[in-house]
């Protein structure tokens, strides 16, 4: 019995190992909480700054989202504050949607080629090349846009060459590899027997691709497109280098225009913290942030709707 109690005591002593465990658990948790705090910090900081245009400077939402003249600190001819963000908002949406519309057929076609038609060549050449292109810095895309796309547009359509069209083209090439590689992933996730069953039923290769494979992969492809759009919407420098940076409502695709990001990057250095000019820029940043959250939500929504039933 006495030996028994001695053993009990030994077994109940809190070991060094137990202390390690507590320490390690807390340490890794605090790293995670730090990231959480950063995310909250970003949202709170930018929301506070961005909202002060409306609460501190008393700009109305209508003037901000509906106005078409952007020159914060001055007044429009009709006597309103010139904080109309509509040109940039329209610019951002235009380049994003156009880039997605152009990219999507190319991306899907390429992805189908890589997985369904010539998987060998796909894996050998296209896969590594798309991976490399996903990683190419956006300034490089911007530079090529500036030295190839803008002159091309200028020669073909006249004008300066800067504008929505050039922005769209640069973004198209930029998000193409992203959409391709994500689409490839979702096509690969379609079980093999789907295809075999379809072919066995006498469907042609194309019918199998169109009616079976693409249909089964639709949620994944949609996610890929939304990711591409999110990237396009948030892209700053590549667009800023080719769009012309005129905060005007775009009248056509080849006149200088601007996006939220281009005005932000160009303007942030030239305004004084706390001024209306500066606050208005933060409001643009807030719009960017909200849109990014929206894209996130969209991805979640698609994911929930289309989770693969196995």
């Amino acid at each position: 019995m006495q030996q028994n109690q001695k053993l009990a005591k030994q077994l109940m002593k809190k070991s060094k190992t137990a202390r390690y465990e507590r320490f390690g658990h807390l340490l890794s948790l605090s790293a995670l909480l730090l990231i959480m705090a950063i995310v909250l910090g970003i949202i709170i900081f930018i929301a506070t700054k961005g909202l002060s245009t409306f609460f501190k400077d008393h700009i109305s939402l209508k003037d901000f989202f509906g106005g078409v003249i952007w020159n914060p600190g001055t007044q429009t001819p009709s006597g309103q504050q010139a904080v109309g963000a509509l040109p940039m908002i329209v610019g951002s949406f235009l380049v994003t949607i156009l880039a997605a519309v152009v990219s999507t057929p190319f991306a899907i076609g390429t992805a189908v080629y890589m997985t369904e038609i010539s998987p060998k060549r796909g894996a050998k050449i296209l896969q590594p090349v798309t991976e490399l292109l996903v990683g190419i810095p956006s300034v490089v895309y911007g530079f090529i846009g500036l030295s190839v796309v803008v002159p091309f547009v200028r020669h073909t359509f006249g004008g300066s060459g800067f504008g929505i069209l050039s922005g769209t083209f640069v973004l198209f090439v930029m998000i193409l590899p992203t959409i391709v590689s994500m689409t490839v992933d979702s096509l690969k996730a379609v079980p093999k027997y789907y295809r075999q069953a379809s072919l066995a039923l006498g469907a042609t290769k194309w019918q199998t691709i169109w009616k079976v494979v693409l249909r089964a992969a639709t949620p994944g492809i949609l996610t890929a497109i939304v990711f591409g759009m999110a990237r396009a919407f948030g892209e700053a420098l590549a667009v800023q280098m080719v769009i012309g940076n005129a905060a005007l409502m775009p009248h056509n695709l080849v006149s200088p225009a601007s996006t939220l990001t281009s005005v932000l990057t160009a303007g942030m250095g030239n305004t004084v913290m706390g001024s209306l000019q500066n606050d208005a820029l933060w409001s643009l940043a807030l719009v960017l942030l909200v849109m990014s959250l929206f894209f996130n939500l969209l991805v979640h929504f698609i994911g929930r709707k289309g989770a693969f039933k196995k």
């Binding site: 465990e21 320490f23 390690g24 890794s28 970003i42 530079f143 948030g234 996130n296």
Partner: protein
Amino acid sequence: MNRTQKQSRTAILILRLIAGLVVLILAFLIGYIFITGLPNVSWRFLTSPAKAFTAGGGIGIQLFNSIYLLILAMLISLPIALGASIYLNEYAKDNWFTSTIRTAIEILSSLPSVVVGLFGFLLFVIQFNYGFSIISGALTLTIFNLPLLTRNIEEALAGVSDDQRQGGLGLGLSKYETIIHIVVPAALPGIISGIILCSGRVFGEAAALIYTAGQSAPALNFGDWNPFNIDSPLSPLRPAETLAVHIWKINSEGIMPDLTKVSSGAAAVLVLAILIFNLSARYIGRKVFEKMTSVN
């Protein structure tokens, strides 16, 4: 041949054409970068400082800044990402707390980098008063880097067989010791590939840096490695324009007479660096794995 077969042939032909066109675009892109860029790259170009108003400048300081910022950002983000991924993969239970945090990390990873840069500007440059500096840039890049690095490390940890964890616990070791000394080493090939891939992304990032590390590259005294001197290359408080920022900056200003030459050279260097990062990620990961399982 019936109608549907014809239709199938045509459709597949179109798909081939699309793929071919995309290959052409991609090939043109890469070819353009290297063919216009590489002739401008020389040892002198890589090592001499930039010139704002006259031709013949290099990218030496910017290149150094890019590398220095990359190293600092990685040194800061690695322990945080490692800790976070350990928690997520090894400790987190399947509950609302975990899913909230995962959502937060997803949000961070999809945030436009210009927004991250503006946050860095507010917090580090203004609030902490670090100014446009290496340290502001490195901290901002850390934020930019954390979500992807965390995800990559988590994936590597998830790839380690549960048998390994059981082995450690069965010896009476704590979960934490098991993770740090058994699981993490076993995941090392994947972790290293993840780090290198993230490095490529950080190396090419510009939007997060223009308002944090700044857009100027003051001359450095490469004879002085005392980080407390402001013209020392190591000084954390000096502004530091990187290679990627440099390309953007000279093109938006449009003053430099040979800016196309310099930009194309710099772009080629950037893409070459990314290419090396991509290739070495696979190669080094595989080598580490071979070393760990090797007979000798």
